[in-house]
């Protein structure tokens, strides 16, 4: 019984070394883009804050808990690529929400445009990064096959689904409230929270 922990300890140390080494090898090539990405997403965060001078007090009673799925981190230790994919999903859903035609002059057009452009830029960065990896890793045929069938990898699909459900709740809320000014304000604050969460996530990643 005593021999086992010793053996484990003996194997753990080289295993750790190998693990560190491997993660060093496997890290994606778009480190430059990651720095730009975090800069752009911080800017977007600030833009979202600046859209309104202050949150209208009367809208507080309409606020709703959308339950940002923070547990997406806790399923397994996420790979850099999984985080990027989750970031992409989040960014494109935020983009979809902010590019609808139903703003009804809630905000100044100039500010809205800035937010829209900022989100687009963030997406471009992410697309570039993910596109690179697609080219490296997969054949086009494999991708088509995998795309049509049910997603084989359970965990990334689960994360993507959780994010979708979250944005679906936001979407429903907007529709139910008929895109009122209060509804938009609440959604703006919620998406800002979401951005902040992802920023922390990617900062954690970069420190790895």
């Amino acid at each position: 019984m005593r021999a086992k922990p010793d053996v484990i300890r003996k194997c753990l140390w080289p295993a750790c070394l190998v693990g560190l080494f491997v993660t060093g090898l496997v890290s994606p090539d778009c480190n430059l883009l990651n720095t730009h990405l975090s800069r752009v997403s911080w800017q977007n965060l600030r833009l979202l804050s600046r859209m309104s001078s202050s949150f209208p007090v009367e809208c507080l009673r309409e606020s709703k808990a959308f339950e940002l799925p923070q547990e997406i981190l806790s399923y397994t230790r996420p790979l850099k690529r999984d985080i990027q994919e989750a970031f992409y999903e989040m960014s494109i859903q935020a983009f979809n929400i902010f590019t609808r035609d139903t703003f009804r002059s809630t905000w100044e057009e100039k500010l809205l445009r800035q937010v829209q452009m900022g989100l687009d830029q963030q997406l471009q960065f992410l697309e570039q990064c993910l596109h690179e990896e697609e080219e490296e890793n997969e054949d086009v045929e494999d991708m088509e096959e995998a795309g049509r069938k049910r997603s084989g990898a359970a965990v990334p699909a689960l994360r993507s689904l959780e994010l979708r459900r979250y944005f679906n709740r936001i979407d429903k809320f907007l529709k139910d409230k008929e895109h009122s000014r209060c509804a938009w304000e609440i959604v703006r604050v919620e998406i800002r929270r979401c951005f902040y969460f992802f920023q922390k996530l990617t900062a954690l990643l970069r420190r790895k």
Partner: protein, 565 residues
């Protein structure tokens, strides 16, 4: 009585099949039940497992996980065929798991329910073909795509702007020259030949989660005859000192041009945005193929720019839309190259971004590829290497040779092909080869290991030699009294020859003489010898080998001077 009983049992037994409740052995549940979803079309398919299909109908229910009740599946009640369409089901959310069950019915009897594995509709859904509209120009085809599903699609409600469209186009005459392109919902395919029939098909796909759609049917269209006025080409925009300079090429003189811009993100959103193009100030009705405008016109972001030529009456078609990212340095600065020689006759090359950069802190949005030219200083043959990494090594070079390297940065993607000028040439000499180095190290190691061995060996040898040839003249302390005058001869050599010593009698009769010793003065030894000299006892060398033959006069003591040492 007994007979009556017997008859009834017989009847009961015989009549049992008729009396048994329905749903027993007759009807079996359907098998091989599959669900297929394309956009908002939900289809349930199955196989009937009973031999006779007459009068057999099927019904299905559904249940949203978390709820207790089963709801009748609309469009799938009492179906006579083996598939049904339940697209009219009003699902609250396509991201929640649902369960289905189906059974066969015949008259009053039903089969047991067959339950389908729970599934999430969004995950099972496949992307259908997009809607395609085409408009031909002389050297381009305008495409208008609508996302898969309807506008009120429930499945793709959150993805209308997320679809990426892949288009395959070829000349009707030769299928071999296929081109695949990623296009926006409203886009133009350029670089085509006039008056040629082209055929194309499009599919939509999602990036997250990865989903590939079905291709649309093939559409063919013929490009028009060559337009009177060609469109401007090679539209370029460069940043210079707080202004942007927009340039293009045009074949004819005396034309007026105008340039327009559009927010790039609008291209992603399906729909017509042709009314959203805006004029670029200072670029309306210019006579030269270039215009300059302040940088404040374009706040930070990504834009599309297009140019049109006109000569009063006629206007050309719009040029290709040039994507312009304000963050992007349109002029690539050459990289900074550093080279260092490392062991094993290799050179390590480090490429870094240029230190100076204009007001943008961001130089590269898109990953750069470096074209590295590597050659020996003395030769002219160059080796060209394309590297993505900024830190790499050229191994296995000739030792003690000078090599020179220079590099330039490249960007390659769909929209443009840009390269910087070459950096300065850096030359370095390689270190000596690994063999001499390795053997040197090996030699040092060997020496370090062998030195103690050698030392011990030498020491041992010296001990042997000194023991043989140069014996210690100091006798063992216990034998001192006996052999003090005589050198102790080695047993080894003593057998070979007889030792003699020249002895001289100096005094006799009871005189005390002091014996002199060559070697070490020993207090006890002197005392002892002086004592014994008084004795008349024989102070003789009993060792015959010492060979100092004393005379027969035993009483006399002789001071012996050792003559030889």
């Amino acid at each position: 009585m007994l007979a009556f009983l017997g008859a009834t049992t017989l009847m009961l037994v015989a009549g049992a099949p008729w009396v048994l409740p329905a749903g027993g052995t007759d009807l079996r549940s359907p098998e091989n039940v599959t669900v297929s979803i394309t956009d908002d079309n939900f289809t349930l398919k199955w196989d009937s497992s009973s031999e006779s299909v007459r009068n057999v109908t099927f019904s299905a229910d559904y249940q949203i996980t978390g709820m207790d009740n089963w709801i009748k599946l609309p469009g799938c009640q009492y179906i006579t065929s083996t598939e049904c369409n339940f697209s009219s089901v009003k699902l609250k959310s396509v991201y929640e798991k649902i369960k289905l069950r189906i059974r066969a019915e015949k008259g009053n009897s039903t089969s047991p329910w067959f339950e389908v594995d729970p599934f999430i509709p969004f995950q099972e859904a496949q992307i259908g073909p997009p809607d395609v509209h085409l408009e031909a120009e002389d050297k381009a085809i305008k495409i208008s795509l609508s996302p898969p599903g309807t506008k009120k699609s429930v499945m793709w409600a959150m993805d209308s702007s997320s679809f990426v469209y892949s288009l395959v186009i070829w000349k009707n005459s030769s299928r071999l020259e296929e081109r695949t392109k990623t296009v926006y919902p409203r886009d133009k395919i350029h670089k085509l030949s006039p008056e040629t029939t082209y055929c194309l098909k499009v599919k939509a796909r999602l990036r997250s989660p990865r989903k590939d759609g079905f291709y649309s049917p093939v559409y063919c269209i013929k490009t028009t005859a060559k337009h009177q006025l060609p469109s401007p080409e090679n539209v370029e925009i460069n940043a210079e000192n707080q202004v942007y300079v927009l340039k293009w090429n045009y074949t004819y003189e005396n034309m007026t041009f105008q340039a327009q811009w559009l927010h790039a993100f609008l291209k992603k959103i399906p729909g017509d945005h042709s009314d959203k193009w805006k004029q670029i100030p200072n670029c309306e009705n210019v006579r030269t193929p270039r215009c300059v405008f302040p940088q404040s016109v374009f706040p930070k972001g990504i834009y599309f720019i297009r140019v049109q030529a006109s000569n009063g009456n006629n206007a050309s078609l719009w040029s290709e839309e040039k994507k312009f990212n304000t963050e992007m340095q349109t002029i690539l600065l050459p990289p900074v190259v550093n080279m260092r020689p490392i062991n094993n006759a290799s050179l390590r090359v480090c490429i870094s971004a240029p230190t100076e950069s204009e007001n943008n802190s961001v130089n590269q949005l898109y990953p750069l590829i470096y074209e590295v030219i590597f050659r020996e200083n003395t030769s002219n043959t160059e080796r060209k290497v394309l590297e993505k990494r900024t830190d790499f090594t050229f191994p296995n070079l000739k030792p003690l040779t000078v090599y020179c390297v220079k590099a330039r940065a490249l960007i390659e993607n769909d929209k443009w092909n840009k390269s910087s000028v070459f950096s300065d040439t850096v030359c370095e000499k390689t270190k000596p080869g690994s063999t001499s180095k390795a053997s040197l190290i090996a030699g040092i190691c060997a020496a370090v290991l062998f030195i103690p061995v050698v030392i011990y060996g030498v020491k041992f040898l010296w001990q042997c030699i000194s023991y043989v040839f140069f014996p210690s003249s100091k006798p063992p302390s216990t034998l001192d009294e006996c052999f003090s005058e005589q050198p102790l001869k080695n047993l080894l050599l003593s057998t070979s020859e007889e030792q003699t010593e020249r002895c001289f009698i100096i005094e006799n009769t009871n005189s005390v003489t002091i014996m002199e010793e060559n070697d070490q003065i020993d207090e006890d030894h002197r005392k002892y010898s002086s004592q014994t000299s008084r004795d008349s006892g024989v102070y003789s060398n009993e060792d015959e080998n010492s060979g100092c033959k004393i005379g027969e006069d035993e009483s006399q003591l002789a001071g012996v001077f050792k003559l030889d040492s």
